[in-house]
């Protein structure tokens, strides 16, 4: 190769790899923002639910819950970390109110029942979504609606991990279960979707 060919080839390669790197960084940032946004909206959903309950049972809590809801709505539209943090704070406030309300309500209100669908969680290997069936205050079934499916390996992993996660969840009766080794993305997506379904159910 002539010196000029080496120089041009180096320049071209560095630019091409640089563009790839830049696109990759954006993709990684986007997926992290997505995680933050999903977390934020989950918190705000929880806040909304809690606020609604609180408003129904205790007049005193209604004012603070309304304030929390305003803030939570803001969190729904903006995805910045700061707003998410605000929302989390609001959620805590609302949850405090709600726990007070729940304590009063638990004796009379019946436990949630039915099938609840979780939100769609995007991962690098595809979307995850599960639904949960609750009967008499117990998780009786978790059904995967979408599993990570980007490539045959990803399909193989999620097919292997889903039954393990299901039995762990049924045993633990919550979304706080151990990561399935070799299926980090599947586990993460599965449990996040499950949690959102449990939140909807008010479980």
């Amino acid at each position: 190769m002539r010196a000029r060919a080496v120089a041009l080839a180096t320049l071209a390669s560095v630019s091409i790899v640089g563009i790839g790197w830049q696109l990759g960084t954006q993709a990684i940032d986007a997926s992290q923002n997505l995680t933050a946004a999903t977390g934020g909206s989950a918190a705000s959903t929880a806040a909304t639910e809690a606020a609604a309950q609180a408003a129904a049972t205790a007049k005193a809590a209604a004012e603070s819950a309304a304030a929390a809801q305003t803030q939570a709505d803001t969190a729904n539209t903006a995805a910045s970390a700061k707003v998410a943090a605000d929302a989390a704070a609001a959620a805590t406030a609302a949850a405090d109110a709600a726990s007070a309300a729940n304590a009063a309500a638990v004796a009379t209100a019946s436990s949630p029942s039915g099938t609840f669908t979780g939100s769609v969680v995007q991962t690098q290997f595809g979307n995850m979504q599960v639904s949960v069936t609750i009967a008499n205050g117990a998780i009786t079934e978790v059904t995967p609606l979408q599993l990570t499916n980007r490539g045959g390996r990803s399909v193989a992993i999620s097919n292997q991990a889903a039954p393990i996660l299901r039995s762990e969840v049924l045993a633990a009766q919550s979304a706080s279960v151990q990561n399935v080794s070799g299926a980090t993305y599947t586990t993460d997506g599965y449990l996040r979707s499950l949690q959102s379904a449990l939140d909807t159910a008010g479980f």
């Binding site: 071209a12 790899v17 790839g20 696109l23 070799g182």
Partner: protein, 474 residues
């Protein structure tokens, strides 16, 4: 007495000593083409790495399992890209032949073989390790899992096995043990090995999964390479053979076992062949049709006929002197940059050993030089086994070139292209040829001998771009 026997310094014009090494007009254009092709080749590697990074690959090095997996993916991408480059180099594309010549293209093809194999092997080993780490099983269980739970993996492992076979049979030591036809049959399995590996690339990984831009890039790349191979290796030779209807016109005995075969056909001017180029010939007569042989033109093509000079070597080409007149001949070519197009300098040195004289003879006919600025060196074991000497003597006389015949056995154990006594006396190319540094040197002979001449010329300070060679073993 072996060095320098006959000298025909001749020509009616006195010897002008052209000192200034004028850049040949064709050189700049050819080198720009060569530069572009090389840049394209390097960029293709950069593109596949960029594709991996654009998918967010840089973030997947956090755990040992992820790091092994990511490295394995990159190794597979780069290795496959190199395989495609190798296929393109062997596809006899006209631009590649124009820029580098067949010999150099095949040398690069050969030098990429091992790196490509190592990358593909690395791809397999790294991914098996990475997956095994992630799933917390040993590698044997992981290989079993791959076979049973991943799509298209048996085919991928078959491709890997074929590739190992192809590369191993091409190692020089192993290759010498095979007949050309046997080796070539195994070598063609390379196409199959690339082909059967495609499904797992599209179905197993996420990178080339449905909907990804990278998937379409790779599919386009495969389609383009396949089209190039089909068109330039198969369709074009068949079309040309049918169009030009070559037949054996006459056979002339040059020496025992050596013949000049003259071929005639229709509109041979359309071939665009030049002196010094070779074709891969197939003579459609009993006992010969199943072999194809590369032979260089031994006379300048004139639009009506082509002439080759052939020495029967062991195999069926020993039958060539007896091939009947009128035998149909199919061909692939013309190929090679052992021509005027490779020129960079005003003076010319033509060096041949044995039957390597054939392209030298045709070059001498048409290569451009002022009388007195060209030297022809013929190397042989003895004066008796030089070929086409009468024709060369006449041409040298007409064109004003100097002819030297250097006869004598090469010494054993010394890496030289000269006879034993010349080598002992410290004779080198620059002592034999005046103004070597201002010359284009064309060398044709057996591989080790050619390499020795090239080394001598380089030691004499001749830049690479002025040295042109065609090595006539496979």
């Amino acid at each position: 007495m072996s060095l320098d026997t006959r000298t025909t310094r001749s020509g009616p014009v006195p010897t002008p000593r052209t000192r200034a090494a004028l850049p040949h007009p064709a050189y700049g254009k050819r080198m720009r083409l060569a530069d572009s092709l090389q840049i394209l080749c390097v960029a293709s590697v950069a593109i596949v790495i960029a594709i991996f990074l654009a998918d967010g690959g840089a973030a997947r090095f956090g755990t040992p399992a992820d790091a092994f997996t990511s490295l394995g993916i990159v190794a597979g991408l780069v290795g496959t890209d190199l395989l495609l480059v190798m296929l393109v180099l062997a596809a006899r594309l006209p631009p590649i032949d124009r820029a580098f010549g067949h010999d150099q293209a095949m040398a690069v093809h050969q030098s990429l073989g091992k790196p490509a194999l190592y990358l593909i092997l690395g791809h397999a080993v790294l991914l098996i390790t990475g997956y095994a780490l992630a799933e917390n099983v040993n590698v044997f269980v992981e290989v079993w899992n791959m076979f049973t739970s991943l799509p298209d993996m048996p085919l991928a492992f078959l491709g890997l096995a074929l590739m190992i076979g192809v590369v191993v049979t091409s190692l020089l030591v192993v290759r010498r043990k095979f007949r050309y036809e046997a080796w070539h049959a195994v070598h063609l399995l390379a196409y199959l090995s690339v082909l059967v590996a495609i499904p797992h690339q599209l179905s197993v990984g996420g990178l080339l999964s449905e909907g990804a831009i990278a998937r379409y890039y790779w599919l386009a790349l495969y389609a383009a390479v396949a089209a190039a191979i089909v068109v330039f290796r198969f369709v074009l030779p068949v079309v040309r053979s049918l169009r030009h209807q070559l037949r054996v016109d006459s056979i002339e005995q040059v020496a025992p076992g050596v013949v000049s075969i003259s071929l005639v056909g229709r509109r041979l001017d359309l071939l665009g062949a030049s002196s010094g180029q070779f074709f891969i010939w197939r003579f459609w007569s009993a006992g010969l049709w199943w072999q194809a042989h590369p032979f260089s033109l031994s006379a300048a093509p004139n639009g009506r006929s082509l002439r080759i000079t052939v020495r029967g070597l062991g195999d069926a080409s020993a039958e060539l002197p007896r091939v009947p007149r009128g035998t149909r001949v199919s061909f692939e070519g013309p190929y090679g940059l052992f021509t005027e197009s490779a020129r960079t300098s005003p003076r010319v040195v033509l060096i041949a050993a044995g039957i390597g004289v054939a392209p030298i003879r045709s070059l001498l006919e048409t290569v451009s030089f002022a009388p007195g600025t060209a030297t022809v060196l013929l190397r042989s074991h003895s004066l008796g086994d030089t070929y086409l000497v009468d024709e060369l003597t006449d041409l040298c006389w007409v064109r004003g070139a100097e002819l030297r015949i250097i006869a004598g056995e090469r010494p054993t154990g010394v890496n030289t292209w000269l006879p034993a006594d010349a080598s002992r006396a410290g004779i080198t190319l620059s002592k034999i040829v005046p103004d070597l540094l201002y010359s284009d040197i064309y060398i044709c002979g057996p591989r080790p001998w050619t390499d020795a001449v090239v080394r001598d010329a380089r030691a004499g300070g001749v830049p690479k771009k002025q040295i042109h060679y065609e090595r006539f073993d496979w």
